[in-house]
Every structure is written in structure tokens, then in C-alpha cells.
Amino acid sequence: MKILVCMKQVPQKDAPLKLNETATWIREDVSYEVNEPDAYALEEALRQKEKHGGEVVVITSGPARAQQVLREALAKGADRAIHLEDNAFVGLDAFNTARAFAAAIKDEQFDLIFTGLQSDDYGYAQVGVILAELLGWPHATIIMQIEKTDAGIKVKRELEAGFFQFVDMPLPAVLTIQSGINKLRYATLIGIKNAKNKPLRKVALADVQSAIGNNLQMIEKLYIPQKTKNTEFIEGPPAEVAKKLVEKLRNELRVL
């Protein structure tokens, strides 16, 4: 099986974020890491390859720093990488990102494309789904398990409240992968050393420019939520207090 894994570099989970001057995104001077669900997507792809043979290719878009994500994937066992390298890719919406990816892989023949379920930064959960639409392939989201069958694949999807759905799908297909479905491997030192010599194809913005258009979705303003503290005493007999408390938690705070 030939599998493409879409991976994104996102700010580290505990990085202190600061807004940029126009308050449309964060400042660049943070530490970055691999988007967590993408790491599981890569792991799953590597396991599929180990079982069924084939090739694992990783793709990312973003500035030079994003290459780190690809090197990490190559160190863990991916065979080659594609880097859509330009700062402008950071600001693309999900539709344009998917269009750029589709253009960059137009000469390739993949059996499967994996993305993480969603990115830890924007959290749209859209790129994979749109990419499937652009390619005219079937897709399934929140995947927990993949089994090869004679006709294609059988996947397990996570639904809400502990329910799962099993779906038989033909190939090629796009799957968005849930976090935590396997145990991530380490990049071994020998893998890291060898990763330097694996092929990494660079795609410039100009190469895919004709495939993308204006963003349909734009971030106008970001702000850091104000932390406020408010203490309220609910008085009355215990049963009534409990009832009021539940009501507040459900309707005002929406935590229940």
C-alpha cells in the first residue's frame, strides 16, 4: 500500500502564546512540535506498511521550520517527504491547504491518504475531508482501526458516547485518524542519522499557486480570554440549592 500522511507543525502544547501585532494569529517565536493526531496517523501508516508492504510518504506545508516535522517522520521510518515551503502556507484556510496538497500530489498514485483528526492550532478538522472531495475519493473520519480486506479496507470509527461504527470502504480513500489509537514509536538515532539521506521534494508556492484562490475563511481578530473570578452563594434548603446549582452548571456555565 502506498500511503500519504499529511502532517502539520503546530505550537507546542504548553508554549506560552502571544498574539501578533495585527491580532490575527500568534507570534512566531514559540517552540513547535508535530500535531498530535498526525503523529498517530504516521504511526498507523508505518504499521500498515510493515504489514502489507508499500511506501509511506509524508507531506507538510509551511515555512522552513516545518521541515522538522518531515525529518522526524523520515527518522521514524517514512520513505520520502514533500514540503510545500513558503511562509504564506501558514495563513491558508483548510480549503486552500487541501487544494495545494492535491496539486502537489497530482502525479502520484496513493492508495490511502491519512490526516490527523484535526490540528491542535486551528482545529478545523477539514483538510482531509476536503481533500477527499477534491480527489473524488471516499473518506471516513475519526478512525481508530484499519484492516485491509479483499475489496479495500474495513475501518472502525469512533462515534459519541462509546459507540463505534465499522465501515467497509474501497480504495483509494482518505482517513482522518484519532489520537491515541496506537503506541507511538521513538525516532531511533540510526533512523535520525539515515533520515538525512532520504528524498525530500520541495514544492514552491508558485508551483501550486494556480490551484489555490482567495481564502474563504479568515481570522479577523484573536483575543486572549479574560480570566475573571466570580463567587456566588446559593442559599436555601439543600435540595433547592442542589437543583439551582445543577441548573447553573448546565445552562449558564455549560459544563454539564
Binding site: 504548553d14 506560552p16 517565536d29 514559540v30 517552540s31 521550520r65 521541515q67 522538522q68 525529518r71 522526524e72 527518522a75 521513538y186 525516532a187 531511533t188 538515532l189 540510526i190 535520525i192 542519522k193 533520515a195 538525512k196
Partner: protein, 597 residues
């Protein structure tokens, strides 16, 4: 990152006292390659996912867990970076070795084990082994299948290791050396498979032997009950007519001291790197605790005196990183010139590393005292909870203490620092004496005004002053004692202190300048604040040490004249360190851990 200049010029050891360096000439953590970063990440993940969940078991000496972890570390390649590829290693640079030591050191009990295994347990064979010895042992050491240990110390000879009592005699058939004696405090002994044992052949010729656990006549004594690093094994090794095949003699007969000194030497930079890694864990705990502990209706992280401690911890880590990576960067530049295919490669490699004996000793002393300070303040922040076992401060405090004792006590290392520099000065290898003379002429001709400009001009000037203070004191002392200065330990120690602080000062300044060059002054506010705080601390220490020396070597009018010069050299406008520490602490508390952005 990959775009920053990586220094490639070879710089001679100890020359920092005389020459001024430019930021482009030093290696800093900001220069890590993609590969260094990925390897650091693997070491970090290994520590967090594999080591930390097992701390309780290891602390109670369940060494089967330790062996498993050593095996896993070996499989990942973490234990093979200093071993040539031909013998199952990865043959990577010293920066990589330091990065791993730095990130793996999240729990001292295991870090000591791993450090003992990959350092003093393995490197004697890398640098001194025969082809046969390397083939036989290195691949399995790299893989963590067998564990190494280093048996030099004895009950009656620790620092004075050359004076050991363990003896070796050749058997009558000439096939074996028969070893008799008892080694003390041997790290990993409880479960190690291979020991580098030092003994005197015929009671005279100090030599090293590779002794397998299975050889007849070697036995391991009981575990020591230790103050700290209880998760490591420390036992006596008893040799009772132990039969060691002659092919297991390591290096040359009578040249054991070359092995003993070189191996400790090369290990020291990693000890420093581990101290930095340990301090990063300690500050993280300290901040987390300070943010949630309340007193007088505030969290204690709001109190200036607590914030000062957190800031100082951060300054320690920043300076430690600067020192360690500058030094390994220099080593790598020198090692790049070694022809790896030449038959003398091992020897040339050793020589390239030995060049930086002073810098490695500095890192060892400085790093061990930094982590001790950090651990001590961590206990203070936890206070009552810092004194009880349920919280991490107590163990951190106990664990930190050993670093000033092993791998050469800090006293011995201070003597090495000054001794090595003086030796180089006497032989003309390091033009220290002409520099001292030039300085003396200069100070006698009155105040000079060497104006510098550019980022950190003021700070660079301070580094220059620190160097002059050191040279001035060393000059005064050598004038009085000449060669006999070797017997004036307190003065040797004071000169070492000035040397250590000068190297640290210069290392932080150059690193911060390099950051400013890459990112601009605005992005470097935190590094700049940490640099200034460090310079203030260090200048205080250097001035005190210089005064101590001058007061010991001069009196009367001479003393007054020299003190006047000293004051002039030590003069600078103080930084507002209260404000700076507040800023530093604020950033650390916001982030919840150490960082420079």
C-alpha cells in the same frame, strides 16, 4: 537554526583567558541542527515515558528495571554515539553526546547508571582498546546487552588513585594476570558485566585490565547505603586471585594513568550537561509548587524573595547550557580535523579532547555547584514540604550532592584547572606570562579607555575586566611564588575560581550576542536579563577571589597599590538585578518551566 554559523575553526584549550572571541566562533544551543533537536527529543521522550514512571522501583534498587532501561536506551541508539560505527556505535559528535546527557538526566539515580555505563564504563575501550577488545565488547556495550563499570578508587586511595594497592602478577605460564585487591564505590558494580580495573603490575606499574564478571576470583560486595542517587548501584569490587587473560590488559603496561586521567577528563563535560538537565527538572517542580502554595493570602510565587530564587535557577541553567555547548562545540571543531581512517585515530581523538581539559574541569565544577545551589533553593521553596520524602525536593537535594565528589572532587578539579594553565604557560604553549606582563605595564600606565560598541558592549567590557583581574592576581601570585605556587592550594583555588567565572561570563555574553544577532534585541530580552544577572554574580566572586590572592601575596604600600589597581579593574556600574530577576522570574512562572523565549 540550520542557518546559523557553526564554528569550524579550531580554538586552543585555555585560550579564552587571553583571546577575545566573536559570537560566530562559539557554538550555542541555538545552533543545534535538526538532527541534534530530534535526538534531544528522543532522549527527552525516553526519559519521560520510560524512566520517570519507574523511579519508585529503581529507587528501591530493582535493578532488573534498570537493566531493561539500559537495553531500551541501547536499542534507540542513545548509548552508542561515542562508539565508532565499525563497532556497533553511531559515531556522532560531542554535541550529540551532550544533548543526550542533558535530556536523559531527569532522574539522577538512572542518569548516574547510564552515565557510568556509556562514559567511564565504555570509553576506556573506545580510546585504548585493541582491535580484538573493541570487537568483543563495544557492540554489546552499545546495545546495552552488557553493562560497563570503572574500578579505580580504593578505600585508601580516591583522589590519590595512582597510589592504589591492587596488584597484578603475571601467572607462571604467562597467560594470565592474577589480580588481588579491593576497589571501593564502584558505580554499576551490582549488575555490571565488564569492569575496567586499575592495578599495579608487580606493585609498581600502574595498568588497566578488562575484567569480566564471570572471570574466576572477582566478587561484588554489598550495596553502599548512600545519601543520594540511591537508584544507582555502588559496591566494592573484590579481586581475590582473579584470573585475567593477558589479552585483557588495556593499553600499555605502566600507562594506566593515561587511561585514568583521559577517561575522567572526557566524562566531565557530560556530568556538567547532566547537572543542567537536572536543574531544568528542579526549576519546573519549584515553579509549579510556588504557584500553588499560598501564604499570607498570596501564592508564594508572588513574593520577591521566592522569585529571586526562581530567577537565579534560570540564570544557572542558561549559563550552564552556554558553557557546556560552547565547550563541546570547540571539541567537535577540533575532532573534525582528526582523520577517522588513520590508524592513530583513537589517539588523535583523545588528544583533541585532552586539549580542553581545563574547560571540561570548569564545566564539572561549575555544573555540580550550580545544581547543588538549585537543589538547595528548591528545598527552601518547598520549605517544610521540602524536608519530607513525599515531595521531590528532598531527593533532588540528596541526589545533587554527589556531583561535587565523583569524577574528581571539585578541589582536585580546581587544582587541575590552575595547574594545567600554569603548565601550559611555563611551556610557552599558552602565552600567559607575556599577557600578564603586558597587563602589568598597562595598569601601571594608568586607566585605559578601551571603548567597545555594538550589542552588549558594556557586558563584553566586563568580560575583559574579569580576564584582567584574573591575570593580575595570577601575575602577582606567580611573581611571589614562582614554581612553588603549586604548593599554595588556596591561591591555586582562587585562581581557578576566577578562571571558572571568567569562562562562564564570556560564554553567556557570546551566546546572548549570537541570539541578538539572529533575532534582534527585542526578542533577546530574557537572555539579556539572565546575562546581566550572571555577570553581576560572577564579578562579585572574581573580585573577592582576586582580593584574597592579593592580600596573601603583598603587604604595606605594595598591597595598597595593588588594591587600587584591583578596584580600578573591578569597577563597573551595577545592573539593577532586582528588576532583572523580577523579569526573569515572571517569564519562568508564566511558562511554568525554564525557557529563553
Amino acid at each position: 537554526m540550520a542557518t546559523t554559523a557553526i564554528p569550524t575553526t579550531k580554538i586552543s584549550g585555555g585560550s579564552f583567558l587571553l583571546d577575545d572571541r566573536r559570537p560566530e566562533e562559539v557554538f550555542t544551543p541555538e545552533d543545534f541542527s535538526e538532527q541534534h533537536q530530534l535526538i534531544g527529543q528522543t532522549a527527552e521522550e525516553f526519559a519521560v515515558n520510560e524512566i520517570l514512571p519507574n523511579v519508585e522501583k529503581i529507587e528501591h534498587k530493582d535493578f532488573s528495571v534498570t537493566r531493561d532501561l539500559l537495553k531500551k536506551a541501547g536499542e534507540l541508539g542513545l548509548s552508542g554515539v561515542e562508539i565508532p560505527e565499525a563497532y556497533g556505535g553511531l559515531e556522532m559528535d560531542k554535541v550529540t553526546a551532550a544533548v543526550i546527557a542533558d535530556h536523559i538526566a531527569k532522574y539522577a539515580g538512572f542518569a548516574t547508571t547510564w552515565g557510568g555505563h556509556t562514559g567511564i564504563g565504555t570509553l576506556p575501550i573506545v580510546y585504548f582498546g585493541t582491535e580484538g577488545q573493541k570487537k568483543k565488547y563495544l557492540p554489546r556495550l552499545a546495545a546495552g546487552e552488557i553493562v560497563g563499570a570503572y574500578a579505580l578508587s580504593e578505600a585508601s586511595s580516591g583522589s590519590d588513585a595512582m597510589n592504589c594497592r591492587t596488584k597484578a602478577t603475571l601467572s607462571s605460564d604467562g597467560k594470565y594476570y592474577i589480580l588481588n585487591g579491593e576497589k571501593m564505590w564502584i558505580t554499576n558494580a551490582g549488575f555490571a558485566d565488564l569492569f575496567t580495573v586499575f592495578a599495579k603490575i608487580d606493585g609498581e606499574k600502574f595498568s588497566a585490565f578488562l575484567v569480566e564478571k564471570g572471570f574466576p576470583g572477582i566478587s561484588i560486595g554489598a550495596e553502599e547505603h548512600k545519601m543520594g542517587i540511591r537508584g544507582s548501584s555502588t559496591c566494592p569490587v573484590i579481586l581475590n586471585d582473579c584470573k585475567v587473560p593477558v589479552e585483557n590488559l588495556l593499553g600499555e603496561i605502566g600507562k594506566g594513568h593515561v587511561i585514568a586521567f583521559n577517561i575522567l577528563n572526557v566524562g566531565r563535560f557530560k556530568l556538567g550537561a547532566m547537572c543542567v538537565g537536572g536543574a531544568r527538572v528542579a526549576i519546573e517542580h519549584s515553579i509549579a509548587y510556588a504557584k500553588q502554595r499560598k501564604a499570607f493570602n498570596k501564592v508564594i510565587a508572588d513574593f520577591g524573595l521566592v522569585r529571586e530564587k526562581i530567577a537565579n535557577m534560570a540564570v544557572g541553567i542558561y549559563t550552564g547550557e552556554s558553557l557546556v555547548y560552547r565547550t563541546v562545540g570547540m571539541m567537535d571543531a577540533a575532532l573534525n580535523e582528526v582523520d577517522k581512517s588513520s590508524p592513530d585515530a583513537a589517539k588523535e581523538t583523545r588528544k583533541a579532547i585532552e586539549e580542553y581539559a581545563v574547560e571540561c574541569s570548569i564545566i564539572k565544577v561549575w555544573g555540580s555547584e550550580m545544581i547543588d545551589y538549585v537543589a538547595d533553593e528548591m528545598v527552601q521553596i518547598y520549605a517544610g514540604y521540602g524536608f519530607v520524602e513525599e515531595y521531590p525536593a528532598e531527593r533532588t537535594y540528596r541526589d545533587a550532592r554527589i556531583n561535587r565528589i565523583f569524577e574528581g572532587t571539585n578541589e582536585i578539579n580546581r587544582l587541575i584547572i590552575t595547574g594545567f594553565l600554569l603548565k601550559r604557560a611555563m611551556s610557552g604553549q599558552l602565552p600567559l606570562m607575556p599577557a600578564i606582563k603586558k597587563l602589568m605595564d598597562e595598569v601601571l600606565s594608568g586607566p585605559s579607555s578601551d571603548e567597545l560598541d555594538g550589542p552588549l558592549a558594556e557586558e563584553s567590557k566586563l568580560v575583559g575586566q574579569a580576564k584582567k583581574l584574573g591575570l593580575f592576581a595570577a601575575g602577582a601570585a606567580t611573581q611571589k611564588y614562582m614554581q612553588a605556587i603549586q604548593d599554595q592550594q588556596e591561591i591555586m583555588g582562587a585562581i581557578a575560581d576566577m578562571t571558572i567565572e571568567t569562562y562562564a561570563m564570556e560564554s553567556v555574553v557570546l551566546r546572548t550576542q549570537k541570539i541578538i544577532q539572529a533575532k534582534g534585541e527585542n526578542a533577546a530580552a530574557l537572555p539579556l536579563a539572565m546575562t546581566r544577572v550572571y555577570l553581576s554574580q560572577a564579578m562579585g566572586k572574581i573580585e573577592a577571589a582576586a582580593k584574597k590572592v592579593i592580600a596573601a601575596v603583598a603587604d604595606g604600600d605594595m598591597l595598597r597599590t595593588q588594591l587600587a589597581i584591583l578596584r580600578r579593574l573591578a569597577k563597573y556600574e551595577p545592573f539593577n538585578v532586582i528588576e532583572l530577576r523580577q523579569q526573569i522570574a515572571q517569564k519562568m512562572i508564566e511558562r511554568g518551566k525554564y525557557g529563553i523565549a
